[in-house]
């Protein structure tokens, strides 16, 4: 084959390169990578300002009701966005319960696109493990956080800066391997 005919191998070479790229991606997806998850652009930026109303009828007094950015300063917290309509939130709840019971960190809840009645009923059924709860019925805060689905959780440091985002349920793996070490680091 003369040298000028080698150029005809170019399309094959391009296809092979593409095959390698696509194969790698396929392996990523089967390994758990979700291409629909939009990476957070808010990492290491301050938590957006919020002043959310609490759930009427929730016991524990004003210290537990309503959520504002002020409340979060001075401590490391886990902000969890959930809804009574959200199936995955039910699946996540036992893990959150365990985290709350462990006392490692306070979990602040944002009731997203919900009514107070529905939220209270859900908490009664599954257990109220939140420290504070704020209502976000029209997604203002959710959008400001770049939330696409529930549940999503944000780890916020003492200065109110977002340090980690979990899209989807917090699993034991994520808790042990990502959140817990980071919390220990941020709490120093």
């Amino acid at each position: 084959m003369s040298r000028k005919h080698l150029i005809f191998l170019a399309p094959l070479a391009i296809v092979l390169v593409l095959v390698v790229i696509f194969w790698k991606r396929l392996m990523d997806v089967s390994g758990g990578y979700d291409p629909r998850v939009i990476p957070s652009v808010l990492l290491n930026t301050p938590l957006p300002e919020m002043a959310l109303e609490g759930l009427p009828g929730r016991t524990g007094g004003p210290a537990r009701n309503g959520l504002s950015t002020e409340n979060l300063k001075g401590k490391v917290s886990l902000v969890n966005i959930w809804g009574s309509w959200c199936g995955t939130c039910v699946i996540e709840h036992p893990m959150l319960t365990e985290i709350a019971k462990s006392g490692v960190i306070d979990i602040e809840g944002i009731a997203w696109r919900d009514t107070p009645d529905a939220s209270m009923a859900w908490l009664k059924r599954y257990g109220d493990i939140y420290n504070r709860i704020g209502q976000d019925p029209r997604s203002h805060v959710a959008i400001s956080l770049g939330v696409t689905a529930a549940p999503e959780s944000f780890l916020v440091d003492k200065n109110g800066v977002i340090r980690y985002k979990v899209s989807g349920a917090i699993t034991r793996e994520i808790w042990e391997q990502e959140l817990k070490p980071l919390i220990a680091q941020l709490s120093q």
Binding site: R36, I38, S40, S139, A142, I143, T148
Partner: protein, 149 residues
């Protein structure tokens, strides 16, 4: 008649999810809101604009767009806000910036490379072969048995 009917039905299914209750009173502002909505991707149904998508969050994003426009923000400011929250992916048309230069220029580059190849092949082929001389034509006729092939 049938064709017009079919065409009408096809166009009638143009996707719009904006409900009457969402619309702004001022038609100019509403038109801007629609324009902005059509530039934003629904983050749940990611192949639709928030204008088309029936997802709940799309509706909330539409309302937020209208709120911000009503508050006096420009189209660009509203879009920038969404990008600051969700990243570039929320734009349906990627911006021309350092991370997307290759994306934008790739078609041009590919076309250019192809054109280069074509030109080089044309040049190498050389001038067209000269026609046959009288003698060569006779030779050809002898070899091919006279008649046209």
């Amino acid at each position: 008649m049938i064709r017009t009917l079919v065409a009408a039905l096809l166009f009638a299914t143009a996707a719009v999810a904006v409900e009457p209750s969402e619309r702004l009173a001022d038609p100019a502002l509403e038109a801007r809101a629609r324009e902005v909505s059509k530039a934003l991707r629904c983050v749940v149904c990611q192949n639709e604009t928030i204008d088309e998508s029936h997802a709940e969050i799309a509706k909330d994003m539409r309302l937020l767009v209208r709120e911000r426009i009503k508050a006096g923000e420009s189209n660009d400011q509203v879009i920038s806000y969404m990008v600051s929250r969700y990243g570039d992916f929320v734009l349906l048309m990627p911006r021309f910036q350092s991370t997307t230069v290759l994306l934008w220029l790739a078609p041009l580059l590919l076309l250019g490379t192809g054109a280069l190849f074509v030109m080089r092949r044309l040049k190498r082929a050389g001038p067209a072969a000269p026609g046959l001389s009288e003698d060569e034509r006779k030779e050809l006729a002898k070899l091919t048995g006279g008649g046209r092939p």
